[in-house]
């Protein structure tokens, strides 16, 4: 006898919609999330911000519907809950308020989302350099807005956050974009298909129009990025633009280079992963129902490959629909009908993806930064040190970890795995690369021995 029918990890768009679909179909759901409230990063604090003035747009406020619907008799919600071990036998070990707990279920849905791609350049570890996603989290959850910031990088989030900052009357001083003309040309071949998701395209143009109207200067094709600390804790940011070395001084440099799936849980439980060549990241191998190679373990949303929040809601639905059918809660006809309609919507939503992946491609200098750049923020290891290791014959991530210590710190490789991969691809012959996804082991988040000792086992 298990505690629940389904345990869902992550209460973002995918997790919330999976929980609702499953609960409405009559299954008992345990929904776990590390944050204090439901919503994930995209709808972060949407409930708490509901009655207040909003600078975040309609798409954000619409998240309230999912959050409110979670008040369902069949859904047990636990927030501030850190999952640190998931087992193939569908046992989940998690920690809350300094105490570890065990929960079991017949099915597990991983919906733990994505993280921003590490965006290394010299000086990216200095105080005053943060990610654009982190600034948006502060805006949404604490009502604090960046002062005279400079935004650097690439991706839709850059424009969205710039627009939200303009709405809140805290416009950025400048937008420095790593997107090149070549990336724009390369993306054109995918534009016809992207037209099927006209809504997102129009939204993108609206953001850019607002940024233009607000008079925020945009520098395109910037390269050779470097941050230095300056007077009073300011950041002096140097970059090359149209062949000229330029600099801007700012209190807050906000950086972003797209997002990549969070795969620590799926890797640790033994799900097979593959390298996504257009998104340049590892992702779990799943079928169209979110099924993995492990029986009863499903994956929904961006942790299964980046497709955005709208798609994540649909993936959550389709996974839960499959589980409802497999547990006999819905009949074959209803299952076929519902999954067809979800797949149909997904086709249109995802039609923009290749266009976006090409338009906002990761620049070469991010994949293989200059030698003095810190790769592993925890252990303070540089690109030069990694290259030295590679020259000495290291061919895999595990060897690098053991000899250089990159990836051995507190973040357990979350910040450096993707960078190390890029450096390896650029510095050793393709045939020599051990292209397997790096191993992840539980506890996949650090826990104290005290937390472990308080665990109640039956």
């Amino acid at each position: 006898m298990t505690d629940f029918d389904i345990i869902i990890i992550g209460a973002g768009p995918a997790g919330m919609s999976a929980a609702l679909t499953a609960a409405n179909g009559g299954l008992d759901v345990l929904l776990l999330d590390e944050q204090p409230h439901a919503g994930g990063q995209i709808y972060r604090n949407v409930k708490q911000n509901h009655s207040k003035q909003s600078w975040f747009g309609k798409s954000y406020s619409s998240g309230i519907n999912l959050v409110d619907a979670l008040n369902h008799i069949k859904i047990t919600k636990c927030f501030g809950a850190t999952v640190w071990r998931v087992e193939a036998n569908k046992r989940v070990l998690w920690s809350q308020n300094g105490e570890s707990k065990v929960s079991t279920a017949v099915h597990i849905v991983l919906a733990n989302g994505a993280q921003e791609r590490p965006f290394p350049f010299p000086g990216w570890t200095l105080p005053g350099v943060m990610t654009i996603g982190s600034a948006q989290i502060l805006m949404k959850s604490s009502g604090i807005f960046p002062k005279d910031s400079v935004l650097v990088g690439s991706g839709p989030l850059l424009y969205l956050v710039a627009t939200q900052m303009i709405e809140a009357n805290c416009p950025p001083k400048a937008l420095l974009e790593t997107q090149t003309l070549r990336m724009m040309i390369n993306s054109l071949i995918h534009l016809p298909k992207a037209l099927l998701n006209m809504k997102s395209l129009i939204m993108g143009f609206m953001f850019i129009y607002k940024i233009k109207s607000a008079g925020v200067p945009r520098y395109k094709s910037v390269s050779r990025l470097e941050a230095q600390s300056s007077v009073n804790g300011s950041i002096k940011f140097l970059f090359s633009h149209k062949g000229i070395r330029k600099s801007l001084t700012t209190k807050l440099l906000l950086i972003h280079q797209g997002v990549i799936p969070s795969t620590e849980i799926s890797r640790s439980v033994g799900v097979d992963h593959s390298w996504n060549t257009s998104q340049l990241a590892f992702q779990p191998i799943i079928d169209k129902w979110g099924k993995t190679n492990i029986d009863g373990l499903y994956i929904a949303g961006d942790c299964g490959g980046i497709n955005g929040s709208e798609a994540a809601v649909l993936y959550g639905k389709i996974v839960a629909t499959k589980i409802l059918y497999e547990t006999g809660k819905i009949n074959f006809n209803l299952y076929k009908k519902q999954s067809f309609s979800i797949s149909f919507s997904l086709f249109f939503t995802n039609s923009i993806r290749l266009f976006l992946d090409t338009l906002f491609a990761v620049p070469q200098e991010t994949l293989s930064p200059s030698d003095e750049t810190i790769v592993c923020r925890c252990e303070e290891k540089t690109v030069g040190e990694i290259k030295l290791g590679l020259n000495e014959g290291i061919t895999g991530v595990r060897q690098l970890k053991a000899s250089i210590r990159s990836g051995m710190g507190q973040c357990q490789g979350r910040m450096c795995d993707a960078i190390v991969r890029g450096i390896m691809l650029n510095n050793i012959s393709q045939n020599d690369i051990n292209i397997l996804a790096p191993k992840a082991r539980s506890p996949i988040k650090p826990i104290t021995l005290g937390e472990l000792s308080k665990m109640k086992l039956d």
Binding site: M130, S142, G143, Q410, C411, L449
Partner: protein, 105 residues
């Protein structure tokens, strides 16, 4: 030397929490994460690495572990993942946590 916050507080609240942050008494709205409270009050580092490098919160979502501080005597606390509470005492984390028993162990 104190560096001013790099952020501007736009949403004011009346429901406040008072606690000790880096030796100063600060007031922030209830429900604020500790990392947000630090960033809205200080512009300088909240952590110093083993080699002496200065760091502040970077990702705000529990990924990077750069926002580690000491809370009520317990080191290695991700400040972006905990909410502030009254009478909390927060110190900068200098270097790696020392080996020994922390308060809650």
């Amino acid at each position: 030397m104190k560096t001013d916050s790099r952020f501007k507080t736009l949403i004011k609240s009346t429901n406040d929490v008072n606690f000790t942050l880096f030796g100063e008494i600060v007031t922030v709205p209830k429900g604020t994460t500790l990392a947000a409270a630090i960033l809205s009050n200080f512009g300088e580092a909240s952590r110093i690495t083993e080699t002496g490098a200065l760091r502040t919160a970077f990702c705000m979502m529990g990924v990077c572990f750069d926002c580690l501080v000491e809370v009520d005597g317990n080191p290695n606390i991700q400040s972006c993942m905990v909410l502030v509470h009254d009478q909390m005492v927060v110190k900068r984390q200098i270097g790696l946590r020392s080996i020994g028993i922390s308060k809650d162990d």
